[in-house]
């Protein structure tokens, strides 16, 4: 249990900068999620904290102790590798036991305690029947669970989990999300969890850090990340389907969204005041989440824009309707009861109180 601090960490691989001046603090016992697409620098961050890679610049502190140059063995963190890294010559049981047989833990735990831990974790991850198998005899999802189990048998200062449930099937992944969160809360061990899945991030995290190309875009509570994204990248990365963003003609109390008929979209009073103060004459982009859009008949006075339905994705109870305006496309998440016909023209009403405003040039949120 410990506080993990990154101070101005920079890492290059050849000419590629994997991490650019990254700083943040993971509080003691916190479930901290690194959210980002592949190549964002999540795995590099984990490698640097675990000691597999050395930072080119900056410092890593574990409970105030500088571990920047420490050998992994002496850091007392546990890592689940995205590539599993199971020991091929050991059975599942031996793989799970291996971290507990390290010199330091062999001293502090009795044989019964060690076996107990392995049994517990194996049971929890549904590996009970596989203990005598070798990694080559397991499926991808089973291997990933062993990799996760090898981490969870330990009680380190911090868990570093690199996409630990990415290769499980959807149902098991869903169960593991809540299971992992429960384990983490129960043990109270500081956890850094890397994932490209925003649903995992929002549902599990105490704090989310959105990473993009080696830079931390935003650190905050899940609802802050979702409701108050600091820039266009965070706004469109978090949320499924992603937020609709379109360039508008802004005229003070209304804006015009480009489509075949120039509708006037009213801007709420408080937003007008805020924009007047902070916008400073930039080109404005407006964002609206698909859930905040309703379908209306094309000639309905409530419509804010209209266009042709070009794609329908039915996801059971809800459907994603993709509508082409003049050049841009807009997605709406609607109830499956009322889905329109493909290629028909429909009007869209947006919840004007749920608008996000962005500066088109800097991509920063205006708020």
């Amino acid at each position: 249990m410990a506080k993990v601090e990154l101070k101005n960490v920079t890492k290059h691989f050849g000419t590629v900068t994997a991490l650019k001046n990254v700083s943040y603090t993971i509080q003691d016992g916190e479930f901290f999620v690194l959210l980002g697409a592949s190549g964002a620098g999540k795995s590099t961050t984990i490698s640097i904290i675990s000691g597999i890679e050395q930072a080119d610049e900056g410092q890593i502190l574990l409970d105030g102790r500088d571990i920047t140059k420490e050998f992994p063995q002496n850091r007392d963190v546990a890592t689940a590798f995205e590539s599993y890294a199971l020991y091929p010559h050991f059975t599942v049981f031996e793989n799970l036991m291996f971290p507990l047989e390290a010199p330091e833990r062999k001293r502090t735990l009795t044989r019964e305690q060690r076996e107990m831990r392995v049994k517990e974790v194996a049971e929890m991850l549904g590996l009970g029947d596989l203990l005598h198998r070798y990694p080559r005899e397991l499926s991808g999802g089973q291997r990933q669970r062993v990799a996760l189990g090898r981490t969870l048998v330990r009680r380190p200062k911090a868990y570093l989990l690199d996409e630990p449930i990415a290769h499980l099937d959807a149902k098991l992944r869903h169960r593991m999300r809540s299971e992992l969160k429960k384990i983490q809360q129960g043990l109270g061990i500081t956890t850094l969890y890397a994932t490209p899945d925003q649903l995992e991030a929002l549902s599990m995290a105490d704090t989310v850090a959105v990473m993009h190309k080696g830079v931390i875009e935003q650190v905050g509570k899940p609802d802050e990340i979702y409701y108050r994204p600091v820039n266009l990248y965070v706004a469109t990365f978090v949320g499924d389907p992603p937020m609709n963003v379109f360039t508008v003609d802004y005229h003070g109390d209304y804006a015009i969204v480009e489509c075949d008929t120039p509708y006037r979209v009213p801007i709420p009073q408080r937003d007008q005041a805020m924009l007047a103060e902070k916008m400073g004459g930039c080109q404005l982009k407006i964002g609206i989440r698909p859930v905040d859009i309703r379908m209306v008949p094309p000639d309905d006075p409530r419509a804010h824009t209209r266009g042709e339905v070009v794609l329908l994705d039915t996801l059971g109870q809800t459907s994603i309707v993709t509508v082409r305006l003049k050049t841009e496309e807009i997605k709406a998440k609607v109830s499956s009861d009322v889905i329109p016909k493909l290629h028909s023209t429909i009007g869209l009403e947006m919840d004007i109180n749920r608008f996000y405003y962005f500066d088109a040039a800097t991509t920063l949120t205006i708020q």
Binding site: D76, F81, A85, Y87, E137, R143
Partner: protein, 300 residues
Amino acid sequence: METNGTFEIHAEAEEIVARKDVSYYVSHILFGRVFRIVLLLLFILAILIPIVYIASTSLKEPIEIRVSGALLPTGPITTINWIKAFRNVPLVRYLFNSTVVAFFSTILVLVIAVPTTYSIIRFKTGGWFFPAWILGTYVMPPIVVSIPIFAMVKMVGLQNTLLGLLLVHTMANMPIAVWLMDSYIRAIPKELEQAAWIDGYSKFDTLRRVVFPLIRPGVLATGVICLILSWNEFLFALILTYGVQSNTFPIGISRYVGEHGLQFGEMSAAALAGIVPIYILVFLFSRNLVEGLTRGGVKG
């Protein structure tokens, strides 16, 4: 109309079957299996003929060896060469010396070469120069260094001893061992070692508990090759040993040339006696030289 159509289809199908038959026999039987078996037999013959020749020579009457070069004995079979081979020359002692030198030099080579290679590959020990230099020493003809080596061994008083020779063999086989181990160690996914470090193991314990079990087939293969090289080594054995107490088997064989003229029969018997142990050994180990042990460890 319909029957006609069916007939045509049948005829076409039969033609296809017939055509396939001819081409099938040509390609699969003649150029496939037959060709492969013939090639294999030629290969086996090339390897076996010298050994068969030695074996038959060792069983021929000395007079027959002088007059006939036939592959198989034409006259009566005799064991006289075998008896004389062991009686006239202390062959058992030579075989014992060879065994000691080959066995211990191989152990020493492996004990040094495995960690060395691991260190070179994983921690870039010595940069580019060290590995290049190790391999460079193997390119040099041994005869070039024979005099300095003799001088050094004499300086520490190990000339004419098994220890002196086995140390020189250790040195001589080191480059080839490093070179052979290289590919085996490279084949191990780095993540496995990193996982072990994070799991709480030192670099040495990681080598011992994770890396070594995975490269064991490679270590065995390297060991067998070093063993054979040491067993057959002639030059250093010739200049560093000059008595029965330290002469190795290849030097022993040459004894049949000097002392009683050229004793082909005895020499053949002795050579076969020297080949047999190493053949048995390689045969036993070859079953353990399996690869693919790292399968399943990492994704992809």
